[in-house]
């Protein structure tokens, strides 16, 4: 019932009709559930005590519990004791954070940092960084607004770039016959990309496949990308998390810069610091010189302001405290190493378990792949069975989050995978 202030009968009737039949939103369709986050929601509804959530990429300890890093707790205690105010951050975020963020990726001795020819802004984790980057390229990139993603790539890459007004294309990456890198296919496709297009590279721990190029392969990719004069967009969401070593995981990014690529780079601290919900990330543009960097910075601010004005403090403050306090940084490096190691161990145990079950398949790729995710090679029907019969939740593409595997459930997982693949 609506309160209508009118005594005019016609007006009342018209209003009633309008109320009964019209809503602004009558034509709004129900949106499809997000494939990745939807998996967790289905998992929550399942009552099977043996259920496993291998969907979203959030680290779990060996008890299957979320892990708050001790360096994070220590940093939080320090921050609380400082009794800081809550004044707005600058549009580009917390300066100490952006600086440390760039150093982490590029290396403290990077010529780029010394010459000040990078601009690094704090962003809303990896997604926010990619979105700002996409918006920036959409507005300022002089070349074709085509982004070439590896096939496959993180599901959210496509809608992010599309929403920003860019077109999505692909280059071969994953070889399903080997569950490894299709090096020849990648080089072949990249060599045909129109000049000045944008190419997206996963810096390490490729999502969703876990398949990374080897250094010699990165070198050839760099060469061909240079020949084609492509703009490189690195997505680095797992620095430290892949091999356990911060510098090793940033090798490709640093190599490309040394080779003269003026890259753009997205970083996330969701996984490597366990700061998922605090939304901590960075976006970097490597420019020709400091003057160009200043101009780019001014335009990034113009892009950021109408989206969220300025970024959230809490997570950036935690990350900056950790990175800039030697003791905490040490602890952090150890904890990242620990997380990466546990995952490597689970990979090994899964393969051992599958062998024990009597699987005749070759599961070497489970060990060769790196980072949080494993592209099992399971087909959609097998995934469906694994979910329905064993309550093991994963994405349809056969991707599992190794972080959800524990020494307590790896045997059960091996059983399930063997059952649907024998």
């Amino acid at each position: 019932a609506y309160i209508v202030k009118s005594t005019n009968k016609d007006e009342l009737i018209i209003h009633l009709i309008w109320c009964l039949y019209s809503s602004w939103w009558g034509g709004v369709q129900m949106g499809p559930p997000d494939p990745i986050l939807g998996v967790t929601e289905a998992f929550k509804r399942d009552t099977n005590p043996k259920k496993m959530n291998l969907g979203v990429g959030a680290y779990r300890d060996d008890q299957g519990k979320p892990f708050v890093l001790s360096c994070v707790r220590k940093a939080e205690a320090i921050i609380t004791s400082k009794q800081l105010d809550k004044e707005y951050l600058p549009i580009g975020g917390l300066g100490e954070f952006s600086k440390a963020c760039a150093e982490l990726a590029l290396g403290a001795d990077s010529e780029v940092l010394k010459s000040g020819r990078n601009i690094t802004v704090q962003t809303i984790s990896g997604t926010g960084s990619l979105r700002i980057g996409a918006n920036f390229l959409s507005r300022f990139h002089g070349g074709p607004l085509d982004v070439y993603l590896p096939k496959p790539s993180w599901g959210n890459h496509t809608p992010i770039f599309r929403d920003a007004g860019m077109q999505l294309k692909a280059y071969r990456y994953y070889d399903p016959s080997t569950c490894g890198f299709d090096f020849k296919g990648a080089l072949d496709d990249i060599s045909k990309i129109p000049e000045q297009s944008v190419i997206m590279l996963h810096a390490c721990a490729h999502n969703p496949t876990g398949v990374d190029p080897r250094p010699e392969q990165w070198k050839e990719i760099s060469d061909i990308v240079k020949k084609r004069n492509l703009l490189v967009f690195f997505d680095m969401a797992y620095q430290g998390f892949a091999s356990g070593d911060i510098d090793r995981d940033a090798w490709a990014v640093r190599y490309f810069i040394e080779q003269g690529h003026n890259i753009v780079l997205s970083q996330s601290f969701a996984k490597n610091m366990g700061l998922y919900g605090e939304r901590v990330g960075g976006f970097t543009v490597v420019c020709n010189d400091a003057e160009e960097a200043k101009r780019v910075e001014s335009q990034l601010k113009i892009l950021i302001r109408p989206i969220y004005s300025n970024p959230p403090m809490n997570g950036a403050r935690i990350a900056a405290t950790i990175l800039n306090t030697p003791d905490l940084r040490s602890i952090w490096l150890g904890e990242v190493h620990g997380m990466a190691n546990r995952i490597i161990k689970m990979r090994e145990q899964l393969v051992a378990g599958l062998k024990k079950e009597g699987s005749s398949h070759n599961w070497q790729h489970v060990i060769d792949q790196i980072g949080m995710f494993c592209f099992t090679g399971l087909k959609p029907e097998q995934v469906e069975r694994l979910t329905k019969e064993f309550s093991v939740y994963m994405t349809k593409d056969g991707r599992i989050s190794m972080a959800g595997v524990t020494s307590g459930n790896v045997g059960y997982l091996a059983q399930g995978i063997h059952a649907v693949t024998k």
């Binding site: 609506y2 309160i3 109320c19 809503s23 602004w24 939103w25 009558g26 709004v28 369709q29 129900m30 949106g31 997000d34 986050l37 979203v56 979320p66 994070v72 939080e76 609380t80 009794q83 105010d85 809550k86 707005y88 600058p90 549009i91 809303i124 997604t127 926010g128 300022f140 959210n156 809608p159 992010i160 929403d163 240079k226 004069n229 703009l231 003269g260 690529h261 969701a270 998922y276 919900g277 605090e278 939304r279 160009e292 200043k294 101009r295 780019v296 335009q299 601010k301 113009i302 892009l303 302001r305 109408p306 989206i307 969220y308 004005s309 970024p311 959230p312 403090m313 809490n314 997570g315």
Partner: protein
């Protein structure tokens, strides 16, 4: 051989102008004059001129830090459920029939800006057909300077002003406002300031809101409230939400972008909420599902710290009470500064009328100083205010109010 850089000047990137309000703060920072006063940026200050972390916020932050059950996991895409529901209740009232009818939903966003952004993106896609790039969006003349950019960036090509401020009479141009409502294209979107209009501090009266609502209902105009100062304006949550609640009771399907930056002092934690009032639960469900898609490609899921602080506070009777006291403390200090500034100007015999200083409400006051006078204030008196003549009342303290009053007096007499 070290290869040269791959490309030269791939980006044709011109230097962009800095955002005015931040440049003002920067100039103030660089100024060495001992009696300088910053009446620019929109954040609360104590009588010592310091930022103020609300006591209730400090308390709740301690609770959070010591609660081992809490972690840093991702929030759901639409945000912390207990934040969303309690925040909407603040805007609409605990006993809101719309909430009871299950037709109110919300999206936790990054501050008020983020809430406006999400609402704008949704409207552009779905409001009146599935491409609203040409649908006019009306913002008040003047308005918060970021309104234009938020809607333009969301894809609206036609962002226009509606008459609002009557500079001559220093009040609301009601006739102009109503006239624009009558003459605009049907289905236009209107951004309304729920209370404490930024930058003028001039709000419609209840009777005037009723007139505005009537026309908007009749002409099928979309109601998009921007509520950044609830509680902060009058000191009363209910009073400051009157317009929003009236429009809900009229039966509008509407959006309300809420900010908790000022009333919780949580500026840098980016706590906002887009409250959605739909016709029914089914509509709401579909709307929220599409909102999720928009959120996912912008920031995936919102930051947890600020939302937790607000949710814990609003959901505990004791803490909620303490918060309301903190809010009243801020609102009362602003009201005191308004009263004192007006009194001092009148005592000085400053030319002009100064009633508008106490008639206006909230953080800001449109002094009526023209740009030449503003320039004089900044350059000669080292008092920093926006070129529009807008001052932030929070920048006034018992220690600087005499200097400010005298400076205004001097400026108005010397500069025309």
């Amino acid at each position: 051989i070290v290869p040269l850089a791959v490309s030269v000047n791939r980006f044709e990137v011109p230097q962009a102008a800095p955002v005015a309000v931040f440049k003002l703060s920067q100039d103030f920072s660089n100024d060495q004059f001992p009696q300088k006063v910053n009446l620019g940026v929109g954040a609360y200050r104590t009588d010592e001129g310091q930022p103020w972390v609300l006591p209730v916020v400090k308390k709740v932050e301690k609770i959070i830090v010591h609660d081992d059950r809490l972690n840093h996991e991702y929030l759901p895409i639409l945000g912390l459920p207990e934040f969303r529901s309690s925040a909407s209740k603040i805007a609409l009232g605990d006993d809101s029939p719309a909430i009871q009818e299950d037709r109110v939903g919300a999206v936790q966003c990054l501050g008020g800006t983020g809430a406006l952004k999400m609402g704008a993106e949704f409207l552009r896609r779905f409001y009146n057909g599935n491409n609203n790039t040409k649908t006019p969006v009306y913002v008040s003349a003047p308005t918060w300077e970021n309104h234009n950019a938020v809607f333009a960036n969301a894809g609206f090509d036609d962002v226009r002003p509606y008459k609002y401020w009557d500079a001559e009479n220093r009040g609301l141009d009601l006739a102009g406002f109503l006239g624009d409502l009558e003459s605009c294209p049907e289905h236009s979107i209107f951004v309304l300031h729920a209370c404490a209009h930024n930058p003028t501090g001039t709000d419609p009266t209840q009777e005037q809101w009723m007139q505005i609502a009537d026309i908007m209902m009749r002409r099928k105009l979309f109601v998009f409230f921007d509520s950044a100062y609830q509680g902060f304006a009058s000191g009363s949550l209910e009073k400051d939400a009157w317009a929003v609640r009236y429009f809900v009771s009229m039966g509008f399907e509407m959006f309300c972008a809420q900010s908790f930056s000022k009333n919780f002092g949580l500026y840098n934690e980016r706590v906002g909420n887009l409250t959605i009032v739909a016709q029914d639960a089914d509509n709401l469900k579909r709307i929220l599902s599409q909102m999720e898609k928009i959120v996912r490609t912008t920031w995936s899921n919102p930051p947890s710290q600020g939302a937790r602080i607000v949710a814990i506070t609003l959901n505990s009777p004791e803490l909620f009470s303490e918060w309301k006291d903190n809010v009243k403390t801020m609102a009362d200090r602003v009201l005191l500064m308004r009263a004192q500034l007006k009194a001092k100007l009148q005592a000085l015999g400053t030319p002009g009328t100064w009633d508008h200083i106490t008639e206006q409400i909230g953080m800001f006051s449109f002094t009526g100083l023209n740009s030449k006078q503003v320039e004089y204030m900044v350059k000669e008196k080292h008092i920093y205010l926006m070129a529009s003549g807008r001052i932030n009342m929070c920048g006034l303290t018992t220690k600087n109010i005499d200097y400010v009053a005298e400076s205004i007096h001097e400026t108005v007499t010397m500069v025309q």
